[in-house]
Subunit: 303 residues, 4 copies
Amino acid sequence: MQKRLLTASLCLSCLVLFSFTALAGSPTGQARSKAPSFAIVLASFGSTDAEAQKVQDAFLQAARERYAPTPVYMGFTARIVMKKLQEQGKDAPSLFRILAELGDQGYDHIAVQSMQVITGAEFEGVKQIATAQEGLPKGFKRVVVGDPLVASNEQAAELAHALIASLPKERKSGEPVIFIGHGAEGRGGLSYPALNWHLQILDPMLFISTVEGAPSMDDTLIALPAPEGKKLRVWLAPLLALAGEHARNDIFGADPDSWKSMLTAKGYECMNIEKALLSLPAVRELWFAHLDEALLSLGYEKK
Amino acid sequence: MQKRLLTASLCLSCLVLFSFTALAGSPTGQARSKAPSFAIVLASFGSTDAEAQKVQDAFLQAARERYAPTPVYMGFTARIVMKKLQEQGKDAPSLFRILAELGDQGYDHIAVQSMQVITGAEFEGVKQIATAQEGLPKGFKRVVVGDPLVASNEQAAELAHALIASLPKERKSGEPVIFIGHGAEGRGGLSYPALNWHLQILDPMLFISTVEGAPSMDDTLIALPAPEGKKLRVWLAPLLALAGEHARNDIFGADPDSWKSMLTAKGYECMNIEKALLSLPAVRELWFAHLDEALLSLGYEKK
Amino acid sequence: MQKRLLTASLCLSCLVLFSFTALAGSPTGQARSKAPSFAIVLASFGSTDAEAQKVQDAFLQAARERYAPTPVYMGFTARIVMKKLQEQGKDAPSLFRILAELGDQGYDHIAVQSMQVITGAEFEGVKQIATAQEGLPKGFKRVVVGDPLVASNEQAAELAHALIASLPKERKSGEPVIFIGHGAEGRGGLSYPALNWHLQILDPMLFISTVEGAPSMDDTLIALPAPEGKKLRVWLAPLLALAGEHARNDIFGADPDSWKSMLTAKGYECMNIEKALLSLPAVRELWFAHLDEALLSLGYEKK
Amino acid sequence: MQKRLLTASLCLSCLVLFSFTALAGSPTGQARSKAPSFAIVLASFGSTDAEAQKVQDAFLQAARERYAPTPVYMGFTARIVMKKLQEQGKDAPSLFRILAELGDQGYDHIAVQSMQVITGAEFEGVKQIATAQEGLPKGFKRVVVGDPLVASNEQAAELAHALIASLPKERKSGEPVIFIGHGAEGRGGLSYPALNWHLQILDPMLFISTVEGAPSMDDTLIALPAPEGKKLRVWLAPLLALAGEHARNDIFGADPDSWKSMLTAKGYECMNIEKALLSLPAVRELWFAHLDEALLSLGYEKK
């Protein structure tokens, strides 16, 4: 009879072993029916630029307030950014590591929000890392990845509206605005000309261009109305999550082949819109909306 | 001593068991170093339309001539198409089944060429089915999937050029041409407005539209120059691999909400370009180019 | 309004595309809630021996009667067996191909029963091939693999009882019986000494031995009681699914290093039990029991 | 021209992004050909017992000395152990988290050594967690998992020899020794009767038994020689990596259904061998040998 009790106590320790949930300290020991325990990770390339980091920290803070008491963390994907942040004494965990830490803390339903703009190689990497962790023994029960800014025509249309809503009041109707993104190889690269189309059916003087890829600077120069001796103001804006070196150098830089220099040389008057996408409240709402959708598919209910 | 021989003969049968290559009858028995044995599968949705089937069969025939003596087969993905073809007494294997038959025949390096137009859900399915078969015990050593028509900006530009090169001589400069595709949800849907951009930087009177999705018929009607009482010819063409029911009904049909009826009602004169993409030699070359690339990455060398 | 209808009809064809179930011809079109459609595949190494094939065919026939009207097929895993059967004009599909054919016929819940004896490399291959097919687009909803004969201590004990129940009446208590299996590398090889233990706690004169591996012939010779001049009968039986060349040559053969020759030379009187495991009703029931369990986990109910 | 340089610098940042190796600070920037960077993780269930922890720490220390300067860490798999260790202020990372930390430090070739005894569910979990991390973007290039103590007949034979070599000198020939393991469901459970066989062909008075499963305590009691009034010493030893609660209570405990109490009640004189497997130098060498093999397959060369 006591033998049986002994066996039962052994079984209990085996149960604990395979049940992830012991950590969360269910007082009844009913590990299997424990409520899901949610956490959020913002997966970002990151930036070594101090101003860009502030913008990102502000977004993280906004996310924490929005989803409190659910914990929200940042997980980085760029080795070089993590290295530089660590040299500055900051803890900059990779996406992999922050997921592992949340696992050790007992969270079992994870929403990973892609802070990317398009569904390029960087987003594929985030998805691959995040989903590899789903369903492992004693690990996460579910991991869902929220869409980047533009992963469908509906989202492209929403971004187009948000970009227009974010234009400075000083920009007059008819003045060209060029949103300059990074560009991408493969299928993700199609997002840029697609977004260009979505913008132009709303306002034909809005353009998407890229640092690498299509539409190229040359494509955009051809599409722009010529200044023809008159003063034509052209607005330049980053189509980047964060305004780091790409924005400062390639778009607004003093270098003769920056967008600004090239356009100025062709007779345009360049106006800077220095805020990147994560600084625009209307665009931030889109990322939050994608995160809301990811959380919804996890079965999350806002407290 | 004989014991040792016995053991050796047993080991041989085990070797044969795990070596896929015995079938191909290597006379030396050096199974491990056997030359790769290549086969090609064209993965197509298929069509129940007799004319469309002829076009598809002609493409299959062209592929067989181009890659002879490497075997080329068609594998279907639409259950309804396979069912109807089978009712007509034709063998219409699924992609899964034709792969299995090639496996039983001893082929171990397989190129699966997607006959899709864009990287939508249908293409994702082809890729998932094909790659699940790679590396299984006694199965394919490698399976590579060739891109559909448009999986990057470079390919979109190539398709734009091929579409222009395929226009009928009767189409005069300045006359609108609308290429009408299926449309897609999610990220694949972005291919259509992207392709619209690639066409319009070459000729602003070329338009992409879709049966479902963006650009919609309404989007395209707004973008078209108005007929303004004058006779304005508009050319309608399917942006579909095969011209089946979608082409016959939705584009050219007599129904009042077909493209043709709608445009005619608005005062345009509609001209039909009934050939679908698989009937256009310039476009067929693009599919072949993607297949060539897939074969190249398999280590295939044309005999 | 008609536009909406048109769109609906398009959506229907998309539904059909992604719904595997259209083939089964649900008259109501409620593809998603279609009842599961079951099929069974017996995954066997196969044999080139005519007698062994008859035994296997009889087992297949018994399975068909037992599970009618659910279809039951054989899928082979040995290339060399398939090749020889095909040369004899028989259709000997690989496991991969028979699965693909069942998929094309519209079955979506598949039980694959391993006809292996232990959980060795051959069983791992069956499991890998079978489970790679689960959940593919338009493919099987579920694939479950039934255990081989011995995949746990409980199953080893059941096999021990079944082997004892299958002993010929002529075998007298105290006479040694040696069941000779193939042997295996890696963890699967541990099944043989484990099974030896399970047999010997029931009858210490029952032995497991292997052609390659442990317990070896030498191990078994040491463990046998010595004949010591007296006539000691030893019974030899294959621990193989089918009695093919291994049984005929390695166990019962005239060759001086067959089990029979070796034991005879040492003064034992050898008695042949030529029936392999698939010929023993008590053992066949164990394979069926594992298949029943696989079907149960698929949600199958016997009609 | 400068445009080209600009593009080049952008490409560089992209390279860095996808190249895991930047962290390791290759001065030439030839990220692709960087030498592999090795690390070792010992994957252990862990123990909450202070003495067992010392044994484990000693093994970790021995591993660090043996493989220096390659870093060696412990990763735990039991939630309850990690929780208790953390309550004691110790850092007890899960296998998942220690892997993630090594990833963040730039290691790309990882050997995970299973500290399990057999290939049961616990080992399967270790393998699944470890291999899920292989080949992720910017992650580990290769992860190899070393065998637990017994994953083949060869390893079982080696363990049998090591156990015999580790017996106390006081144990006289003919005195039974019972090695008591945890037991396991499924195929892993077959390891115990298999190991019993390997021990008994060396010394028929050595027995394997389990807390749960086969051979059970009852099986072993039947197999033991009866004391028959005489004083018969029986040696009890844990077949556990660490001697924690199972050893203290189930084997040596004062409780009437511990092994010791049961055997004493039956008239045996019980002798304790309290050292668990990780305390036996000959057995530790076997774990190291499996780790050496894992490292070898990673291409590791001892410095």
